[in-house]
Assembly symmetry: C2
Homo-oligomer: 424 residues x 2
Amino acid sequence: MKIVNQNERASLRRRVDQGTEDQRKSVQSIIEDVKNDGDQAVLRYTEQFDRVSLPDYKVTTEEFEQAYDSLDGEFVTILEEAAANIRAFHEKQLSTSWFDTSPDGTILGQKITPIDAVGVYVPGGTAAYPSSVFMNVIPAQVAGVERIAMVTPPGSDGSVPAGVLIAAHILGIQDVYKVGGAQAIAALAYGTETVPAVDKITGPGNVYVALAKREVFGDVDIDMIAGPSEIAILADETARANEVAADLLSQAEHDARSSSVLVTTSRELAEGVQLEVQEQLKELPRQDIARQSVEDYGMILLCETWDEAVDTINEIAPEHLEVITEDPFQHLAKIKHAGAIFLGPYSSEPVGDYFAGPNHVLPTNGTARFSSPLNVDDFVKKSSVISYSQQALQQNGDKIARFARLEGLEAHARAVETRKERWK
Amino acid sequence: MKIVNQNERASLRRRVDQGTEDQRKSVQSIIEDVKNDGDQAVLRYTEQFDRVSLPDYKVTTEEFEQAYDSLDGEFVTILEEAAANIRAFHEKQLSTSWFDTSPDGTILGQKITPIDAVGVYVPGGTAAYPSSVFMNVIPAQVAGVERIAMVTPPGSDGSVPAGVLIAAHILGIQDVYKVGGAQAIAALAYGTETVPAVDKITGPGNVYVALAKREVFGDVDIDMIAGPSEIAILADETARANEVAADLLSQAEHDARSSSVLVTTSRELAEGVQLEVQEQLKELPRQDIARQSVEDYGMILLCETWDEAVDTINEIAPEHLEVITEDPFQHLAKIKHAGAIFLGPYSSEPVGDYFAGPNHVLPTNGTARFSSPLNVDDFVKKSSVISYSQQALQQNGDKIARFARLEGLEAHARAVETRKERWK
């Protein structure tokens, strides 16, 4: 891991895979096929891409039961505790409808309504994470979404990972479909004989899933297209090098394109972390991925002043930020852009991935400048409510009509003026 | 305007202009040029598309002053009152950061931060609306956005409509740039010598603007791509036909693709409105547009039962909904999807376009199923805050490590376990 002086660093590279023109065309034709042929197209593409021929693809009660047989009960208890923590945190995000009344009789307000139906994409293979199920489904449930469907690609034996099924079952999700890729996104967006259409699709996936989400966006809503994971650690000389290194590597092991950055004013810490990363790498099962990630996208940035260090963090706008300093809370006001902020030496990033409660679906690639962790507000929408009284219209009608005419909209003006008959 | 039985109607057509492949390519090359050549490219495209050669394109103090000379003071007062109402409504939308502490010392929270810089696109020509300036800028200001830039295409004489400049000036916006189209979106997204880059772009525009917003999305945030305006009116026999007709026409005059729908159980009202629409159309200056809109996308839906009428509204998920019935508030609970809900006979839709306070930037084309009026939350973002205590990590560390290992992420488990040294 390179140590670089802050003023000598090049700007950080973007790592979003936008897909090729061929990939985009292929995704478009898969979506068209699923729109036209429904289940038949879904099963055809499942056979082609997942190499398994399925008679149907809704997960059965028996499959849920088998999943429980394959995991021990103690682990199920951990999952349940995590789910309860995540639910408790997200319940605090609930917004409420409000109204405000004026003396002239006007009532203005904002009504909050949950989205009717949501689809959650859960990746397959090595990235089949029960925690993904929790982080996508629980905010939707807390928001009051009535119908939640889950899709996940089947393995070549036609099965779905037990952890994913148990996570779904813990949350009471019954509609799980064994379908992945662009065909899964199309099925959720437009519906098939088996899968009823939804209004919003969330959850991470490969480049085909991301491209398909972009295609269906507008017909349904989608969450952000996530890039590879990233962490920045803002640390002073009180941080321990072995802990900082371990946290950097916990991101690096996700993906060869993951990014791990330490920002510090302490040369001693910088050098200690550099050594520790080399040492700890040797012991990791996913060391090939982690080493590649650290070499390509890892960096130790040495800053002259603490203000410069904080500015650097805001410039990076990291997905995960750890602040490991003597009094981490004192820096909170200055941190403007970060998906999740972990304060102090005990708040190792994995604490937030699984267990503490906040969401692990976070803005990547600097998008924390303008976007937020997945949250309950992503699963509700607002409606403005306007109830004008006769008195209010009598007082303001002429002004409104005049405003409309300035904008050249005569029918707008007349719509207001036609009410005058009521008080003549 | 056709009267159609609810059970005989075809589903409503979508009216989003996705652009052609040629338009998309042209937009991509404009964006590339502005990225590479900055101001030079901006001024070249302005000459090409707006047919005016400008030496520079930032609006000067003199231009603001000239705008005031061209409009009378009474109208400025109306604009100021509208701005105050809009500000008062949006101030009620402000979310606050929150924290929650546990007995074990854990602190979890959510920090709200405004987006740093926002760009607002204001269309030119006949659609140059001061109200658009208010509705896009005020929520950003209430959110605490520090820097707001505005772009709007110049006329062939190099000027910008006075109403737009005055609206900007009332809000204290000084950075107004005379540039439109895809080149304006590119300048905002990537910056030029004259225009500093922003983090989010909002505001409506033609198909080139919409395509450019789609292209830069991800590098910056954007608001929804809006379709043509639409209104649905849910009315019973207590509604007056002339008022309902006037309100339908106030949407129809916007655009030949605007949609105006009456949903009612009263045949008498249906027939009365049909007649009134014909009569009132004759008197409208924009009658060609309004007539086309009513013929192509207007409809009077006659329902058998009131429940059917309400279901129809939820299926349409209209941008604007008027409820004109004996006791309109009693229907509020049943209305699930609508951008803005206008209750009672005095809440004519134009009241909300200009003056009452709620935003007039609303979800169109059925997207009220999953999206909201433009609001203060669109200009802030959240950061999760996690401060775990030693006690919390001691109690939960092993569970977290186990969860990580189930997901195959060993470095995650070790990051947590390395802290154990601290309490050995």
